[in-house]
C-alpha cells in the first residue's frame, strides 16, 4: 500500500512536468493552429541556460532569468521565422518547427558539447522532505510539485480573470473580430508564443537537475508532449492537465508493478506453449509491463485519434 503512495507522488511529478510543457504547446496550437515540434527544444534551452547562469550566480537567479531568455528567443522565432512561413500553409509550418528542433539540438551540442553537463539541485533543497515506509521523498520533488501547481493556478488566473486573458481567449476563436476591435492580434500571438516557450523554459530549469541536462533531453520528451495534448484535446488547458497526470501515472505504475502478459493470457484461458523459446508467440508471452511502459502513451494516442479525434476534453477535431 505504501508503494502506491510513492508511485502516486512520482507519477504526479512526471505528470506535472509534462503539463508545464503541454500547457504552452496547447495554447500555441489553439492560437495559431500549428503544432510546435520545437517546443521540447525550448525546454532543453531552459535547462542549459539555467545551468550556464547557475555557474555564475546560483540556481535561483537562473530559475528567474533562464525562462525569460527562452521566452524572448521563442518570441523571436515566432516573429522572424514562423510568421514568414505562415503564408505557405500549415504543413510547411510544421516542417519549419521540425527543422528548428534539429537545429537547436545541433546548436546546443555546438555550445555545450555532446556530454551531459553537471547541473545539480541547489544545496538548500538537498534533504529528505519525508519518507513513506522507508522510501524517502526528496525535498526537490516537493518543490517541483509546488512550482508546477503554482504555475497552473497562475495561468488559470491570467486566462480567465484578467483583461489580457480575455483578449487571448477571444483571439483564439475570432481573431478577425478582435483585430477589428483595435487589438494588435499579431502581437498577442507573439506574446503567447513567447509565454508558452518561457513555460517550457521553467520546466527545463527545474527538470534539468533531476532528469539530466544533455543534448538528447528534448528528443526524449519531444513526442510525448504531443501525445499529451492530443489525448487531452488540442487547445484545452484542463485536458492537458488531465492527460499529463494520466500519462505520468500510467507509465510510473506500469514500470513499478511487474505485470506479465503470461498471467493475463493464462487468466483468459490460453495455454502456455512449451517449450516457450521455440514458439512463434514467445514474444507475446514474455511481454511485461515495464517493457511496454514507454509505448503505452502512444498506444493510447492512436486509440484516441481513431475513436475520439477531438481528445478527452477538446471541443473540436484536430
Amino acid at each position: 500500500m505504501e508503494l502506491v503512495f510513492v508511485n502516486l507522488i512520482d507519477g504526479l511529478v512526471t505528470g506535472l512536468l509534462l503539463f508545464m510543457l503541454s500547457a504552452g504547446l496547447t495554447l500555441i496550437f489553439s492560437m495559431m493552429g500549428v503544432l510546435n515540434f520545437a517546443h521540447a527544444s525550448f525546454y532543453m534551452l531552459g535547462a542549459y541556460f539555467g545551468y550556464q547562469i547557475s555557474q555564475y550566480t546560483g540556481f535561483w537567479i537562473g530559475l528567474v532569468l533562464a525562462p525569460l531568455i527562452v521566452g524572448v528567443a521563442g518570441a523571436g522565432v515566432e516573429r522572424y521565422g514562423l510568421r514568414r512561413v505562415h503564408q505557405y500553409g500549415h504543413v510547411p509550418e510544421l516542417i519549419f518547427t521540425f527543422g528548428l528542433a534539429l537545429l537547436i539540438e545541433e546548436i546546443v551540442q555546438f555550445i555545450w558539447g555532446k556530454n551531459q553537463v553537471s547541473y545539480g539541485i541547489p544545496e538548500v533543497l538537498q534533504f529528505t522532505a519525508f519518507s513513506i515506509a522507508g522510501n524517502s521523498i526528496p525535498a526537490y520533488k516537493v518543490f517541483m510539485i509546488f512550482i508546477s501547481i503554482g504555475i497552473f493556478l497562475g495561468l488559470l488566473y491570467v486566462l480567465t480573470r484578467t483583461r489580457i486573458g480575455m483578449i487571448i481567449q477571444a483571439a483564439l476563436s475570432y481573431p478577425k473580430t478582435v483585430e477589428a476591435l483595435g487589438h494588435n492580434v499579431p502581437l498577442v500571438f507573439m506574446g503567447v508564443f513567447g509565454a508558452g516557450t518561457a513555460l517550457a523554459g521553467v520546466a527545463g530549469v527545474i527538470a534539468g537537475p533531476v532528469l539530466g541536462t544533455f543534448p538528447g533531453m528534448a528528443f526524449v520528451l519531444g513526442s510525448i508532449i504531443f501525445v499529451t495534448i492530443v489525448i487531452g484535446g488540442l487547445g484545452s488547458l484542463w485536458g492537458a492537465l488531465i492527460a499529463s497526470l494520466l500519462i505520468g501515472w500510467i507509465t510510473t505504475f506500469a514500470k513499478s508493478y511487474n505485470l506479465e502478459m503470461a498471467d493475463l493470457l493464462t487468466a483468459i484461458g490460453f495455454k502456455k506453449p512449451e517449450p516457450i523459446w521455440d514458439s512463434a508467440w514467445r514474444d507475446l508471452w514474455t511481454v511485461t509491463s515495464p517493457q511496454i511502459a514507454d509505448i503505452l502513451p502512444y498506444m493510447l494516442m492512436v486509440l484516441i485519434l481513431i475513436f475520439r479525434p477531438r481528445g478527452l476534453f477538446g471541443k473540436r477535431d484536430v
Binding site: G81, Y88, G99, A280, D283, I292, I295, I306
Partner: protein
Amino acid sequence: MTDDITTDPSRPSERMRAGSMVIGKLPWIVAGLFLVILPVIFPSNSAITIMNQMSITMVFALAYNMLLGQGGMLSFGHAVYMGVGGFACVHLMNVAGFFDYLPLPFLPLFGGLGGMALAIVVGSFSTRRAGTIFAMISLGIGELVAACSVIIVVFFGGEEGVSADRTVGMPFFGIEFLQQREVYYLIAFWLMLSAILMYLFSRTPMGRMANAVRDNPERAEFLGYSSRWVRFHSFVVSGFFAGVAGGLFAINYEILTEENLNLTTSGTILLVTFLGGVGHFFGPVIGTVVFTLVQTVLSLETELWGFYAGLLFLATVMFFPGGIAGLIMMHAPAIRLGRASRLILPYLRCLAPAFIGILGVAALIEMVFHVRHASVGDEEMSLYWMTFDSHAVAPWVVAIAVTAVALALTKRSAPALRAAWHDANTPEGGAA
C-alpha cells in the same frame, strides 16, 4: 510542353505545391543511360557504395513525395513501411528453399507487398483526415513500431537486428550478386522501374485526384470523390514503393535493425524530400543527390555537418519552400523567353561574393568551435588547406574582414540582380 499547371507558382502560398509537369520520354532515356554508364565513370568500390545508398534513398524519397508532395500528407513515420518491407525481405532470404523458386532480383517485390500490407492496415484509419491529425497518427505509429522492434524479437530481431546472405540464391542468368557492381545494376533497375511507375501513377486520374484532394478536399468531395479513399490509395501505393526501397536496402546491406524504423530515419527522408522540392516529381531525386553528397563530403571535413544541414533545411523552408527543384523551375519562364543569358552576369556578380561570404561565416563558426572544444594546449587548426593558430588575433581579423567584405559586396549587387531578374522575365514590350 507545360500543360495544365494546376496552381499558380507566383503566389507564395502555392509555391510549395506547383503543378506536376509532363516529362517526355527523352529525360527518362537519358536518366537510364546515365545510370548504366555511372559505374564506368566511377568504378571505385566506395563510389559504388555511395551510388547504391543514393539509389535506395531515391526510391524511398520518391515514395515519400507521393504522400507529401502529391497527396499533401505530412508523415513523421514513413521509415516504418520501408523498414517492415526490408524485414520481410530479410526473412524471405533466410527461408530455406525460397530461392529455389525465384531469383534475387524479384525480392524487392515482396518488400513492397510487406510495406503495402502495413500501409493498408494503418491507412484504413489514419487517412481519414489530412493535415495535423494525419501527421500525429503517423508519428504515433512510427514510435510504436520502432519501440516494438525491441519487444517483438521474432520479427525485428531485437537490438542486433536480422541479417541474411543474398548470395545463397540461385544465379540469375549466371549473376550471383557477389560484387557491389552487380548489386548496383539490380538497384538501378528497380530505381528506374519504380520511378517510371510512380511517375505514371501521378499521371493517372487517381494521381490527379490526389492533387485535387491536396489542394481543396471540400471541392473534390463536391465533385463526388471521397477524399478519404483518394488519400487511402495514395498512401497504400506510397507504402508499396517504400517497401520496395526496404527490399533494396535488405539486398544491399544484408541486415536490418531498429535504425531502419526510428524517427531519425523518418525525419531524414522528410529533410531530403523537402530540400529537393516537393512540388516537382524529380525534386526528391535532386534532394537525395545533394543531401548524400553533403552528408558524405561534409561529414568527412567537419564535425558540425549536422549543424550546416539543419541551417540549409531551415533556410529552404523559410525562403525557398519549393526546394531546389522549385528554384530551378523558377527559371523556366526566362528560358522560354530566351533571356536566361541576361541573368548569368548578375548571378556571377552576386553569388560569387555570397559564396565567399558563406565560406567565411563557416570558417568563423569552425574557429569558435575549435577554440571552445579543442583539448587544452591544442591551438593549431587547419581549415581550407591552411594551418594556423586559432588563439591568435590575425586569423580572426582576416576571417572577419573577408566575410564582411564579401557580404557587403553581395548586398550591393543584389538590386542589380533583382532588376535583371525582372528584365529577363518580362516579355518584349509588355509589362510584367
